[in-house]
Amino acid sequence: MVALTQDVHLDIRGLGKSFGATRALDDVSVEVRSGSVHSFVGENGAGKSTLGKIVAGVFPPDQGQLVLRGTPVSFHSPRAALERGIALVAQEVALVPQLTVAQNVFLGVEPQRGGFIDRGRLLEQTERLAQDAGFDLRPNALVGRLSIAEQQQVEILRALGRDAELIVLDEPSAALSAKEVEHLHEIVRGLARRGHTVILVSHFLNEVLELADTVTVLRDGKVVQTNPAASETEASLIAAMLGRAAGRAYPDKRPPAPGTAVVLSVSDVHAPGVAGVSLEVRAGEIVGLAGLVGAGRTELARAIYGAAPATSAGMAAGVTTLPGSPSGSLRAGVAMIPESRKDDGLLLQRPVRENVSLTTLPIFDRLGFVRRGMEAEEVGSALTKVSGTPRLEAPASALSGGNQQKLMFARALLAKPNVLIADEPTRGVDVGAKRDLYRLLVEIAAQGVGVLLISNEIEEILGLSHRVVVMRLGSVTAEFEGAEMTEENILAAAFGTAPAAAA
């Protein structure tokens, strides 16, 4: 690893990328050296995955330039990147489950003879690739029957089969067991030994420190630092990931008085992605639920709300046991603003009025018919309360992201809940609307509603919550209150690095 003598494989110069109002990458410059393992790390939303995807041609940058071995390149598609020797092994595997290993590896570039696929050569080449890489894969096995770890190996073979020299691994170990992770690490080291360059996007810091030669830390879409991995520690990386973004005004906190009644209490909840979680929310309290993407926060929210099957030793809102279905939860006074308003919340083609009143139609019902006047009045006043536009008859699709989210709040408020679960309530919303939503969350809590707030932005969690619960790998790993509620503590608990400060 004589870094100075190594030539630059990929020179990333001044990349910028925005998604709507969100600035995902801002003037990012990194040099990736040939034959090295180069890792991108950062918090959720820091831009590490976006950077990996731009390198692999998944989307084009808005600004900046990629220079590949001295030649400026621009990729319009992953295919274009692949032709220049860059392959992406994504978080979610992208294989055809009905085809065999060999067919997947050479999909689209099958060895041919006289217009037909040369099956003999297909198997032989796959076998050889697998042997070279040290994988124990049968070329004729159906991909759908393989474990995720094995499917990842097929993806790596697919990259190698197309002579990829630079392989981008995006969170490769997120879905693997400990043993499989060990094997993956062997594979990455093997790739580097044989002269491949590997870009490793990961939020497992120990993995990064173990594998990488160089580590680039990103924060809010900007490069904080690029250093040799040998000079870093987990603590130094976390310190680099921290730091405050441009200050956002959070309303004053008004925590509930001690001894306020518990409005939501769940114990030992088990659901897919959730392994035995217990927590309580008091009336008027905002409890922040922090953790990395995939830590099980949304799954927990859906389990509590009854949107997904779950088991638990007990789930209760106030004194009512939660019945395990959305309609029952609403009756028990629990409302949820789902993570994705487009997929799980809105009826995009229907008017705002119908969207807001959806969950509370029984209130407006008289002999099976909707009392339109009453509905319009109540919906209008709910929208005014959330400072949304009372454009009752516009289709929901015509609203901005911020106003759509306010619509979701208005819907939840109409149900007069005792508990509000807000899953990423400010995602994809501009700064002004974010402020409105913060004010709204605080007001809702001040009126005695217990709020469970899920957010990927630790700053948001810190700015709003009275108490923070941190999840990691499906379990609660820490809980912070008062002075212990710091970004350092939350991040450490979310990454599972340092033991939480003794309570």
Binding site: P326, D343, L347, L348, Q349, R350, E354, L358
Partner: protein, 327 residues
């Protein structure tokens, strides 16, 4: 650089077309319907006659009843391909029972069968999570098969029971009871869809089933209800037609399914769910009927009638797809 007026790019022109398609879909089939109506009134002297117009209404009664209920199924995100089979079975059974027991019992047994099959359809789609297209297609075979077995493939006749005919063919103000029932049923379903809580849930279920479910809507119950209504409506149409001609054949409904779907879709109800209205469906069905009536009155080759219908259907679906892509 000076700001030269530039030719619009292809993508912009496509967007523009898409927006226009949206407008066309919003205004719906009403304008083509009125144009066709006016044209036929001018061209054919026998078109704009009370006799001809009430005949069209009478003949379309069954189709519009089925299509109104079918619109609910489509809006809720489903599709019912078994309506033709239910129509045939219910007609044959009601005629049979009307001759062997009595007309009211015959009518009720036909409707009851329709309800039963509709409920089964609903369960297949919700409880057993079978795709509606395939599930109701399979049910159409099952139901047709039962019809063939029950009637041994024969025409069921009730010529000696004129009281059975009163159900469909009693004239009130010169219009048949079948047509009146059509008006009442279509209006009722229309009001239900537009004004009732159930109607809201139907739109929500088809527009975004997951959002509806998380919003506390019992999505499966709504789906079952739409299929049950569709079954009863198909049976109603079968009974009406059997009553009108005092005979029925279990296999007579095979073409009905497609006529009904054509009417609904030409009317502008989206096959993808979440959108549509009964008014559109009624006009769509009447438009299809006008085209057929026009070919008839003008003495045109009926083969071209089918080609015309096919093209109209493609246009309707195409406009729907375009407007969705750019809205």
């Amino acid at each position: 650089m000076t700001a030269e007026p530039r030719a619009p790019m292809l993508s912009e022109r496509l967007m523009d077309l898409g927006r226009r398609a949206l407008v066309i879909r919003r205004t719906g089939i009403l304008i083509p319907f009125l144009v066709t109506f006016a044209a036929l009134s001018l061209i054919s002297p026998s078109f704009f006659r009370f006799q001809n117009l009430t005949n069209i209404l009478d003949q379309q009664a069954g189709i519009i009843i089925v299509a109104s209920a079918g619109t609910l199924v489509l809006i809720a995100g489903g599709i019912d391909l078994s309506i033709g089979a239910i129509y045939g079975l219910a007609g044959a059974v009601s005629a049979q029972v009307a001759t062997s027991v009595s007309s009211p019992v015959g009518i009720l047994s036909g409707l009851g069968l329709g309800l039963l099959v509709g409920l089964i359809n609903g369960l297949i789609v919700t409880r057993f999570r079978i795709n509606a297209l395939i599930g109701t297609l399979a049910m159409s075979f099952v139901v047709s098969g039962f019809g063939a077995v029950l009637t041994k493939g024969n025409l069921v006749v009730a010529f000696d029971h004129p009281d059975f005919q009163q159900f469909a063919a009693t004239r009130i103000f010169g219009i048949t009871s079948a047509a009146w029932m059509m008006v009442i049923i279509a209006t009722t379903i229309g009001i239900l869809l537009a004004r009732s809580t159930f109607g809201r849930y139907v739109y929500a279920t088809g527009g975004n089933a997951e959002a509806a479910r998380l919003g506390g809507v019992r999505v499966n119950t709504i789906r079952v209800a739409t299929f049950a209504l569709s079954g009863v409506a198909a049976a109603m149409a079968g009974v009406l037609d059997a009553s009108r001609v005092l005979s029925a054949q279990a296999s007579s409904g095979s073409f009905l399914t497609f006529t009904v779907l054509t009417g609904i879709i030409v009317g502008g109800t989206s096959i993808l769910g979440g959108e549509g209205s009964i008014r559109r469906t009624v006009i769509g069905c009447l438009f299809v009927a006008l085209v057929a009536n026009g070919f008839n009155l003008l003495g045109l080759d009926p083969f071209y009638q089918q080609i015309t219908l096919g093209v109209i259907l493609l246009l309707a679906v195409g406009i729907d797809a375009w407007s969705r892509r750019f809205s």
